[in-house]
């Protein structure tokens, strides 16, 4: 394999790929109401029918009529709009925010879109009045009681205005059957179905026929373009026509067809739901048989295979998800979460790395864009050649691949109720969410529980320090807790109180998804839905989980440690004094500095501090495990925030760890608070390993920042591989790396025009640094850098 890897790494990026890449980077972005028009028309035409039928017809309409194009030089084709990177208006989810913000889209600080005047007019004249009260957003808003809404500052509910996404479809079966094969199944099922399930199969037939039609339109278009094409382009169009024609009628046969088929599936799912994080999963595994066969039979060269993967990598950057201004500020740079996980293990436990795993890594070396979100699965027997190649790609500074540890993830999934076989076959969804391909709806971004805000309320008798509102239970203030144990007891009660409220909200939201976000296209590629005739939003999948993120371990550990040591044990600061300081945002800098520097902090290999973090994850899980979600499954915990540590910190008052009011919480999920890990990367990893990954089946996130100096010579690369081996042995689920000079980050803030393409890892996703909000930029600069000057 070593020789093979050397050979692959020498394959240059072709001129075709370079051009396609440049075009995509420079693509202007427009708001698009095209699909909204088609959806609205379908809803009008089918007004007497059920939501399920309306949704199916609306998708069918788009499949048949949405504008399509084939770009010059493309070898993998397809998009959900004619132009790429469009901001798609999707009324079934929600448009309220857009009513307020449509005029700011062009000028807002992040993720701008141009708006054509005629589209703006259509939006206000037709769309807004028609959809009033019908969107998911409107229905959720009406259904949620106000006492739950008020408490979202602790138990934040997500997925209120768009479909859930966040799922890994059964791409393997999709490629093997094709839409035509699945359609035949659905038709057969429809014949035999009882009344209750007939509608489900009808919707399946509507959308799968539509899928065949959609793909066929690309074949037709290619043939059309072929007519007037110059001689040197004819071959391109002929190939596209033949690939798409085949895929519209039968399963994929060649490697290129398999890759194209995978991409069409992603486009179709996006067309149905306009959501983030439809993840292709273990593409190096399910594409491998096609690759092997073509290579062995001489129909495909290594260079051609590489170019096909490079081409599809570019495609992943042509679909973006338009967020509201607040969302864009903190999830800037379009993290849409097309996650591909390479490497890992096979079902029998043996290593799964194959030639394609390396071609995927090399595609990242070539393309170096934000998407796909490339992940590498590693385990204790991962080959050195794989780790080395992974390290070489990491050293390029695109933040990818991020690493997932089989030794931690598989047990965590088994712990959450997945079978051993499925847990071995895990893939990653979106940013860092763990899932099993093809048979699970993890609903992984259901909500976020702000443990730090909960601590603020515990210290202040349940009263919000920012607004003065009574949100929590009246259990006394810090001054009333005579011992640290009394404080902990109160914290637990408040935590459970807010969790109870939040869980009720989660039930309501999932019920609304079942009613308004019926997803037949997605259900056709999730195991058991088709068999049982139940939509994926209604619990049709084999596994039905809901993910709640617990935020943020580091701040809780640091705050609890400071309270324990400085207030209760050494009495350096009195309870009364500290409470006043917290309420008034540390007017006395001396007290803040004592809280910050006189007690040890999480991330420095100090057991008792780390365990104060772990303790509250366990405590939360104990209660969470007693609930059953709306679809009859269990809840899972995620220890990640993506980039929500910034907004989640905005409304948290000053905390006992010396953090000022409104400052970001710790980044990532399991990272130490930026800059507080002072004992080097090995100590940090040992601290992180004390937060037991088996409790976090929804995924964890650890950011580490390294200086590019670390990778300057062979020596450094080998040492870095050793660090990865240690990470594996410590059974930590996830880690990702920024490899960037602090000086570059500072310069890029000053002269953004010179750093347009500087990529950074934010938190589970990669973005252009200059597109980020300033708070987030500063937080990334403040993270501890390793491996620089001795």
């Amino acid at each position: 394999m070593k020789k093979f890897v050397e050979q692959v790494r020498q394959i240059p990026m072709t001129e075709r790929i370079r051009k396609l890449r440049e075009e995509t980077l420079d693509e202007p972005r427009y708001l698009s109401v095209e699909q909204a028009k088609l959806i609205t028309r379908a809803y009008r035409e089918h007004s007497g029918e059920s939501v399920a039928m309306k949704r199916a017809w609306a998708l069918r309409e788009a499949m048949e009529k949405i504008g399509i194009c084939i770009r010059d030089g493309e070898i993998i084709v397809g998009n959900r709009t004619r132009e790429s990177c469009a901001g798609v208006v999707f009324p079934e989810g929600g448009i309220k925010w857009l009513e307020k913000e449509i005029d700011e889209l062009e000028t807002r600080p992040q993720d701008q879109f141009h708006v054509r005047p005629e589209d703006r007019e259509y939006f206000f004249q037709e769309l807004v009045p028609f959809w009033e009260g019908m969107t998911l957003e409107d229905n959720v808003s009406a259904a949620l009681p106000s006492d739950i809404k008020e408490r979202e500052v602790v138990g934040k509910l997500n997925q209120k205005d768009h479909a859930q996404g966040h799922i890994c479809p059964n791409v393997k079966e999709w490629i093997a059957e094709g839409p035509a094969g699945l359609l035949a199944k659905a038709q057969e099922k429809l014949e035999a179905a009882d009344e209750e399930h007939k509608e489900f199969y009808r919707t399946e037939c509507i959308v799968l026929e539509g899928a065949c039609h959609f793909i066929r339109r690309y074949a037709d278009l290619a043939e059309e373009l072929l007519k007037d094409a110059p001689e040197e382009k004819k071959e391109d169009y002929r190939n596209i026509a033949s690939v798409c024609r085949n895929l519209s009628e039968k399963p994929a046969e060649s490697f290129r067809e398999a890759v194209q088929s995978m991409w069409f599936l992603i486009v179709l799912l996006q067309l149905e739901s306009n959501a983030s994080s439809f993840s292709p999963g273990r593409a190096d595994q399910y594409l491998y048989p096609y690759y092997r066969k073509d290579i062995d039979e001489g129909r495909l060269t290594l260079q051609e295979a590489q170019e096909i993967l490079d081409a599809v990598f570019i495609k992943f950057n042509q679909i973006v998800y338009m967020r509201n201004t607040d969302g864009a500020a903190f999830f800037a740079g379009f993290p849409i979460g097309f996650n591909i996980a390479v490497g890992g293990r096979k079902a029998d436990g043996s290593d799964a790395v194959n030639e394609l795993s390396h071609l995927f890594l090399h595609a990242q070396e070539h393309v170096r864009m934000r998407q796909p979100n490339l992940s590498a699965r590693v385990h204790k027997n991962s080959p050195d050649t794989f780790l080395r190649h992974v390290t070489q790609v990491i050293s390029l500074g695109t933040g990818m691949p991020q690493l997932f540890n089989d030794e931690a993830v598989t047990p965590a999934l088994e712990n959450a109720g997945y079978s051993h076989e499925d847990a071995m076959n895990y893939a990653v969804v979106g940013c860092v969410e763990l899932s099993v391909p093809g048979n699970a709806l993890g609903f992984s971004d259901a909500g976020m529980f702000n443990m730090v805000k909960c601590l603020e309320l515990t210290l202040n008798d349940g009263v919000c320090m920012e607004t003065g509102k009574q949100l929590g239970l009246k259990l006394g203030t810090l001054e009333d807790f005579k011992t640290f144990e009394e404080l902990e007891e109160a914290y637990k009660k408040q935590m459970y109180y807010f969790l109870e409220k939040m869980e009720t909200g989660l039930q309501i939201i999932e019920e609304m998804h079942k009613k308004y976000m019926v997803s037949p296209m997605l259900s056709s590629v999730i195991d058991n839905c088709m068999e049982r005739g139940v939509d994926v939003t209604a619990g049709g999948a084999v596994y039905n989980k809901s993910g709640v993120q617990l935020i943020q371990v580091a701040n809780v550990a640091d705050s609890m440690a400071a309270l324990k040591e400085l207030v209760y044990e050494k009495k350096e600061v009195s309870a009364k004094e500290l409470l006043e300081q917290l309420r008034q945002n540390y007017p006395d800098e001396r007290i803040r500095q004592i809280m910050l520097t006189h007690a040890p902090k999480y991330g420095n290999d100090v057991e008792w501090v780390d365990e104060l973090g772990e303790k509250w994850v366990e405590c939360f899980k104990e209660k969470l495990d007693t609930y059953t979600n709306y679809r009859g499954g269990n809840y899972t915990i995620g220890l990640y925030t993506v980039s929500a540590h910034v907004p989640m910190g905005l409304h948290v008052s000053a905390t006992p760890d010396g953090r000022r009011a409104g400052e970001p919480l710790a980044d990532g999920g399991l990272s130490a608070v930026y800059g507080r890990d002072q004992k080097g990367p090995t100590a940090l990893l040992r601290s992180v390993s004390r937060i037991r990954s088996c409790n976090a089946a929804n995924g964890t996130l650890l950011n580490m920042k390294f200086s590019p100096k670390m990778f300057e010579d062979e020596n450094g690369i080998e040492k870095f591989c050793g660090l990865i081996r240690g990470f594996v042995a410590l059974k930590i689920s996830h880690v990702q790396f920024n490899v960037v000079n602090k000086q570059d980050l500072i310069q890029a803030k000053e002269t953004p025009e010179n750093y347009r393409h500087l990529l950074v890892r934010v938190a589970g996703y990669t973005a252009n640094y200059v597109d980020l909000a300033e708070k987030l930029q500063d937080e990334i600069i403040a993270r501890t850098e390793y491996g620089g000057n001795a």
Binding site: R590, H598, D605, T682, K719, G722, R725
Partner: protein
């Protein structure tokens, strides 16, 4: 057994093979004018004032029973002749700007610390590197420390100027897996001028160590105008050749960060203007010491 240290650095990637932890022993018999670790120069107690962490609250000034502290031009100023290291300012300083740099560490404690690192060091061929100051300056402690590390199965390396009686080296050598040795200046008079001591013992010790047959890497710190001359570097190469022509010599580029540490100790660096050699220059200097 306890010894005096001033720092421990984990994930040291420039102090020998693999992922290592470097332990810095306090005190050194040499006084190199360019020393990068001024806090390691002398044995005994040292007070650091990390002024960029200071919040100018005056706590330390009010706390000091000897009136050794005051504010001068808006910065804390220490009258080091009055300070008796009572530690009150260190304990009371809210922002940890006042620090004690010296600390007594136990061989057992240090070995336990290294055992934790084995997960990383073992897979990369790393281990512990004892540096300084000059580790040979605390020979009994060094010996006990190395024995304890070897018992725990940890790869041991020393970073040394080799300035000590040969019998010290004879005692510790069995417990060392590898050596990083400094030869700074070949000419005896120049060596005396810039380091305060003759290099005779150093050169003779080098012959002894090279004869042991254990991995040994010669390192030369590049100090512009002092060690970084063609004559000196070529001279060191031919001296090493006279002992063993296969031995590698590694040059350490000048590190301009040391100045800050001098300020923490209210000392001045001998030349604040010096900068690291740019890449081409550095490579040219390296060519003088390549194995031929």
């Amino acid at each position: 057994m306890k010894g005096e240290i001033f720092d421990i650095k984990h994930f040291a990637v420039h102090d020998g093979p693999g992922i290592r932890t470097t332990i810095f022993l306090k005190g050194c018999p040499l006084h190199c004018v360019w020393c990068h670790n001024p806090e390691g120069m002398k044995r005994g107690r040292d007070l650091w004032v990390k002024r960029e962490a200071c919040i100018h609250c005056g706590t330390c000034v009010h706390t000091c029973p000897k009136q050794a502290l005051s504010f001068r031009d808006g910065e804390v100023s220490v009258d080091r002749s009055l300070c008796d290291f009572c530690n009150l300012c260190v304990e009371k300083c809210p922002s940890r700007a006042m620090r004690r740099i010296d600390r007594m560490a136990d061989t057992k404690e240090l070995t336990e610390l290294l055992k934790r690192e084995q997960l990383f060091s073992d897979v990369t061929g790393g281990g512990v590197t004892i540096s300084g100051g000059e580790p040979l300056y605390q020979p009994e402690f060094l010996l006990e420390l190395l024995k304890s590390m070897k018992e725990a199965g940890i790869d041991t390396c020393i970073e040394t100027s080799m300035f000590a009686p040969q019998r010290v080296l004879e005692e510790i050598a069995p417990y060392l897996d590898r050596f990083l040795v400094d030869i700074k200046i070949l000419d005896e008079e120049t060596h005396k001028k810039y380091t305060g001591v003759s290099n005779r013992q150093i050169l003779s010790n080098f012959r002894y160590l090279a004869g042991l047959g254990k991995p040994i890497l010669v390192r030369v710190p590049l100090i512009p105008g002092i060690t970084a001359t063609e004559e000196n570097l070529r001279g060191i190469r031919s001296f090493v050749d006279s002992v063993d022509p296969k031995l590698q010599i590694e040059l350490l580029n000048f590190n301009s960060f040391a100045g800050t540490k001098y300020r923490f100790l209210d000392k001045t660096y001998f030349d604040e203007e010096l900068r690291a050699f740019p890449k081409e220059e550095f490579e040219r200097l390296c060519s003088y010491v390549e194995v031929r």
